[in-house]
């Protein structure tokens, strides 16, 4: 049993009571909702004559179905329009703030809440979306939940939850140039497996984690869920406080000092006890990309597609399925794989630092996206879009042949018009390479960092970004 970890402290402070089932009734400090998983929850409330208990603790935005080109209403997709109307009505009739398209604060829910300062250390956060783990970057305990649980949070501001074990993932050393937070987390998932984290909260720690800025930390925590963990978090430190200071919902004046003191107090103690500890050396990690149909089927850019015999016997069927779906053979190099589509965006890699690095790589390369490749950049939020345009990043992307879009989830899950066609191969900064994930039931996805997507787009084939980065460093 873990003791004195951030997870234990936050859990204990938010425990309302132990339920007859043995589960804990846990208070949720911040509840985020979006258009896909909330309409049925509001309908259930109405059926039971329940109201929203703490409307000011729920914040809504729209992201999954929002088109990234023509955003005029009503949407061409009547079902999407119906979902928009539902969230507009449900939020207004329940006194819930909605950051809607065009208000300057709309975007992917996991990008919007941090940039507004809504996500803070020591909070419990819940959202009807599995990538809620992202908010753990602030030292919050953040859970993705289903729609019935969205109903529970709306009605009671609490959840019935079973406890978790805590695994400390200690990352020593430093990432090499051209290797990013995305590579780090893809590598961790590759080693621990897609269900290695079942029953656990992941605490990411160590010098390589501390060296990440808040956006890199969000990328890491975002994908904790892909490793099977129920949530992932990083202890808050000065980097966290500096990011929060001055944001719209961050405390000010005397409250700021009180907040910093409390936030510091909830970090894991030096003598905290973990259920287990796993160590990685950041300096050994290469640019990492996925070759298969689960996020754990990854490999370093210098490696070849693994053989079935590299995996435990029970995975043989899954590995065979991955070869067949992806049209890869054991022993084949991943570098040089042709791509058709390049997607930069999502709650994993749609933030400012991602776009800045992507634009920098495009400039270092100097080329243009070849005709056979469709490349597009989708900022994670309206704020990211505005700031990127102020810095001229949009012009850099367009100059190199990338399309520049409006904010949303886009081709991360392809509920809007952005979709792969047929068996197209996509180089994507998103978080899931499941069969059919990007809108075509036979479409193929290679997950990688934004820098790697940019070179893949410009070269037309999967390419190691490190030589370019080194060129940039010596220039």
């Amino acid at each position: 049993m873990s003791e004195r970890t951030l997870f234990d402290k936050v859990w204990n402070q938010h425990t309302v009571k132990t339920l007859p089932s043995g589960q804990t009734q846990l208070f949720i400090g911040l509840h985020l909702i979006h258009e896909v998983t909330s309409p049925q929850a509001f309908a259930m409330l109405r059926e039971r004559n329940l109201t929203v208990l703490y409307p000011q603790r729920t914040v809504a935005t729209v992201d999954h179905i929002v088109p990234t080109e023509d955003q005029s209403r009503p949407y061409a997709d009547g079902l999407a329009e119906e979902m928009m109307v539902a969230i507009e009505n449900n939020t207004s009739s329940n006194g819930i703030t909605l950051h809607n398209v065009g208000d300057g604060k709309q975007g992917v829910v996991h990008i919007v809440a941090p940039e507004l300062g809504l996500t803070q250390p020591g909070m419990t956060v819940a959202c009807g979306d599995s990538h809620t783990a992202t908010h753990g970057a602030f030292g919050a305990i953040a859970f993705g939940i289903g729609t019935s649980q969205v109903r529970d949070v709306l009605a009671t501001q609490t959840l019935a939850m079973g406890g978790l074990k805590v695994r400390r993932i200690e990352v020593t050393g430093a990432l090499k140039a051209g290797v990013y937070a995305k590579d780090l987390v893809l590598h961790i998932i590759r080693v621990l497996g897609v269900n290695g984290g079942v029953g656990y909260a992941y605490e990411f720690a160590g010098e390589a984690i501390e060296a990440l800025d808040m956006e890199g930390r969000m990328t890491v925590c975002n994908m904790a869920i892909e490793g099977g963990a129920r949530c992932g978090y990083i202890n808050p430190d000065q980097v966290t406080f500096d990011y929060l200071k001055g944001r719209e919902h961050a405390p000010t004046g005397a409250a700021w000092d009180n907040a910093c003191a409390w936030w510091s107090s909830i970090a894991s103690d030096v003598d905290a006890v973990f259920d287990d500890v796993v160590t990685f050396d950041a300096s050994t990690i290469q640019p990492t990309i996925t070759w298969g149909i689960t996020p754990a089927q990854g490999l370093g850019i210098e490696e070849n597609i693994p053989a079935v015999s590299d995996f435990p016997a029970e995975d043989a069927a899954l590995i065979g399925e991955a070869y067949e779906y992806m049209s890869f053979e054991a022993g084949q190099a991943i570098a040089g794989t042709g791509i058709d589509v390049a997607f930069i965006g999502s709650c994993t890699n749609g933030r400012m630092s991602d776009l800045r690095e992507a634009a920098r790589i495009a400039e270092l390369h100097g080329g243009t996206v070849p005709a056979q490749v469709k490349a597009f950049v989708v900022p994670g939020s309206e704020q990211v879009k505005k700031l990127a345009e102020e810095e001229g990043l949009d012009k850099v992307f367009v100059k190199h042949g990338f399309e520049w879009r409006e904010a949303g989830c886009s081709m991360c899950l392809a509920m809007n018009p952005d979709k792969l066609v047929g068996r197209q191969v996509s180089a994507s900064t998103s978080n899931r390479n499941f069969k059919g994930r990007q809108g075509s039931s036979t479409g193929r996805t290679l997950l990688m960092s934004p820098a790697m997507v940019v070179v893949a787009a410009l070269e037309g084939v999967v390419t190691d970004v490190r030589p370019l980065v080194e060129k940039g460093a010596s220039a």
């Binding site: 309409p39 405390p251 059919g436």
Partner: protein
């Protein structure tokens, strides 16, 4: 809510590890404001792809029509938190799931729908799947209290964690009613959290 104590009927095997919720219900079917009608789209893409290859997915095989117990393998329901996935299975007719392991959000979503997900060993999962594949009409019965699954002449003892089991047995699998009762305690907990009062000491 009513107690869930016994599930009786027939089973349908869907083999494979790491079957994610995008495969259980592809994203395009999430464009909806109710869960109605999701049943027919369960495993839509997997079914279509097998059909193209001249094969048939279990959900399309006549011998499994009307089955109410789903037999799966490891890490079933990983990926997206979409409750549309268990809802689509429930609307198809599934009332219980037997498999090696489940992704946690999926597992919890099923509790909220009153659908027990029982854990068995890899050998037991394969054993019951093989038995059903050779005789789809075999009677299957699940005793939620003991987590025993009987099929034909065989009985296996699965795992259903006590806390979860009690929620099914006492009819408190739908958490809302139980959570609503504690409104005063919720307010007391909230009152002690520094961020709930704007960090005023």
């Amino acid at each position: 809510m009513s107690a869930v104590t016994h599930i009786k009927g027939r089973a349908v095997p869907v083999r494979g590890n790491d079957i994610d919720t995008d495969r259980i219900i592809p994203a395009r079917f999430l464009r909806c404001v109710t869960f109605d009608g999701l049943g027919e789209h369960a495993f839509a893409d997997d079914r279509a792809q097998l059909k193209e290859k001249g094969e048939t997915h279990a959900f399309d095989k006549e011998e499994y029509a009307g089955a109410n117990v789903l037999l799966v393998n490891a890490n079933f329901g990983c990926g997206s938190s979409r409750e549309h996935a268990p809802q689509s299975l429930a609307k198809w007719g599934i009332e219980a799931i037997v498999g090696i392991s489940y992704a946690e959000i999926f597992f919890n979503n099923n509790i909220a729908l009153g659908i027990p997900c029982i854990q068995v060993s890899p050998e037991e999962a394969d054993g019951i799947q093989t038995a059903i594949e050779s005789d789809p009409n075999l009677d299957v019965a699940i005793n939620v209290e003991t987590a025993e699954i009987s099929y034909g002449a065989s009985v296996i003892k699965g795992i259903l964690h006590e806390g979860v089991r009690n929620r099914f047995l006492t009819g408190s699998w739908d958490a809302t009613g139980m959570l609503v009762e504690a409104a005063d305690e919720v307010a007391a907990t909230a009152g002690k959290l520094p961020y709930m009062n704007g960090f005023q000491k």
